[in-house]
């Protein structure tokens, strides 16, 4: 089956997601407005600045359309800023989010840029080596609701979660050559 994945291209690392998906033989398309949302089988919300991306999701019902699609089972994967935008609650912030995943997320939770790091993660259900994960001013999940499946933790902090058709990572799988996280997301697409 030929899957077509939309990558939200308001701001951030959307090109890297496209590159990794295209290496996997998947067609991709950049999404800049709600009209672009038709004809895709899944959506990726890339890393970037969650406030900058959120400011454009409030325009012309763009975010509302994504919320509606996701509530009907449409697969969405958010990385870093994408995790924040998918979260129901954001610690100490009133900023816009899609409020789809039952999580409380803290922004810049590991600290400023100087504390950004790479580490090897064990991910539930993944065979073989650990996944090299790049954390950049990354968030983590402070509280996860009952429906959340925790797929990975780093030093006791939740950094990779799934809730049915929704997937969110605090790290950037698009910045490494390891495509297993993207393959996992593709498997979530019916």
């Amino acid at each position: 089956m030929n899957k077509r994945i939309g990558v939200l291209a308001i701001q951030g690392a959307f090109r890297e997601h496209r590159k990794i998906l295209e290496k996997l033989g998947v067609e991709t398309v950049e999404i800049r407005s709600q009209e672009d949302l038709s004809g895709i089988d899944g959506l990726i919300i890339p890393g970037g600045e969650s406030t900058a991306i959120g400011k454009q999701l409030v325009i012309d019902g763009f975010g509302e359309k994504i919320i509606k699609m996701a509530q009907e089972g449409f697969p969405v994967f958010g990385t870093c800023a994408g995790m924040i935008l998918l979260s129901k609650k954001i610690d100490q912030s009133e900023q816009y989010s899609l409020k789809l995943m039952d999580t409380l997320v803290r922004r810049n939770a590991f600290g400023r840029q100087i504390a950004s790091f790479e580490a090897d993660l064990k991910i539930k259900g993944f065979e073989g080596d650990r996944v090299r994960a790049v954390f950049i001013r990354a968030p983590f999940v402070l509280e996860a609701g009952a429906e959340i499946d925790v797929l990975s933790e780093y030093e006791g902090k939740i950094v990779f979660v799934r809730q049915d058709n929704l997937l969110a990572s605090a790290f950037h799988p698009e910045l490494t050559d390891d495509s297993r996280v993207h393959e996992y997301f593709l498997k979530m697409i019916p």
Binding site: A9, I10, Q11, G12, A13, F14, R15, E16, R32, G47, G48, E49, T51, A52, K55, Q56, C80, A81, S93, Q95, R107, N108, R112, Q113, I114, A115, S116, F117, E118, A119, D120, V134, F135, I136, R137, H172, L175, T176
Partner: protein
């Protein structure tokens, strides 16, 4: 194995800023306006380039209090400028926790021969370049992000266009060269050979490349995106315009929707007065900021 401040982490933050606008701000209030408008980062400064140009004298790193207050005011990354070659200013900015350091020609250079050895730092650096050789020299020293120099504080985009076109043309030229010509190309542009090889093979810089210097309107931002840059720095263009809130928002949207002329037309309506512009020929060559550094 855990690695802090790796090359991937340094260049990675710049990757996350792509498609976004980085705005010069001088107060926490301006920083909030920038964040509210959808800026992906702010540059904390004592004065915007147009005021630095007008004031003359020696321009230095901003007072630490200004940088700290701006860091407290917003949640987006905060950049700050150090003088070219002034590695102690850079150490201070790193100690303050700035997210990115701009080794910038907007400030008065502290060293006329040497730029900062940026590989020694944990915090990533962005540097200006007018051509590919200059960009690759800065990357060789450890810059994790490049921007055009343009001519800061002029509201005149012509120099940024020149620099972006030059870099892009030189990249294209390298990709068409047979390998035996690349060492000579490296020699001619005074650039590290390994980086010349990278560009020849990949057809792009190994780091993100933003436009900066003279961008004053949404149309300017979209033009630079069309020319192939990854994102936009706006210095004086926002807070020297008559309606900074509107201008900031319009430039952010124009950067995302740079290839949608209908959208750009809407964004160009009712913007108020853009910053007053300067003709480059009216600036004596010795006073052109882009000539600083090598």
């Amino acid at each position: 194995m855990v690695e802090v401040a790796s090359w991937k982490v340094k260049t990675g933050l710049a990757e996350m800023l792509k498609g976004g606008v980085i705005m010069d701000v001088t107060t926490p209030g301006q920083a909030k306006i920038a964040e509210e408008a959808g800026a992906c980062s702010v540059m904390a400064l004592e004065r915007v380039p147009a005021d630095i140009r007008a004031a003359g004298g020696v321009a230095r790193m901003a007072d630490a209090t200004i940088i700290k207050k701006i860091m407290e005011a917003v949640t987006i990354p905060v950049m700050a400028k150090a003088r070219i070659g002034h590695f102690v200013e850079a150490q201070i900015l790193e100690a303050l926790g700035a997210d990115y350091i701009d080794e910038s020609e907007v400030l008065t250079p502290a060293d006329e021969l040497y730029h900062i050895d940026k590989n020694r730092f944990k915090v990533p650096f962005v540097c200006g370049a007018r051509n590919l050789g200059e960009a690759l020299r800065r990357i060789g020293e450890g810059a994790a992000m490049i921007r055009t120099k343009g001519e800061p504080g002029t509201g005149n985009v012509v120099e940024a266009v020149r620099h972006m076109r030059t870099v892009m043309a030189e990249i294209r030229r390298l990709t068409t060269m047979p390998k035996e010509e690349l060492m000579t190309a490296a020699k001619e542009m005074a650039a590290p050979y390994d980086l010349v090889l990278y560009v020849a093979e990949h057809g792009k810089l190994p780091v993100v490349n933003f436009a900066a210097g003279g961008i004053a309107t949404p149309a300017d931002a979209a033009l630079m995106m069309e020319l192939g840059c990854d994102g936009i720095f706006v210095g004086s263009g926002i807070f020297k315009s008559s309606d900074p809130v509107k201008m900031a928002r319009a430039i952010v949207l124009a950067t995302t929707h740079y290839n949608d002329p209908d959208m750009l037309a809407k964004l160009s309506e009712d913007l108020g007065e853009a910053m007053h512009g300067l003709e480059i020929s009216s600036i004596a060559p010795a006073e052109r900021m882009q000539e600083r550094g090598w």
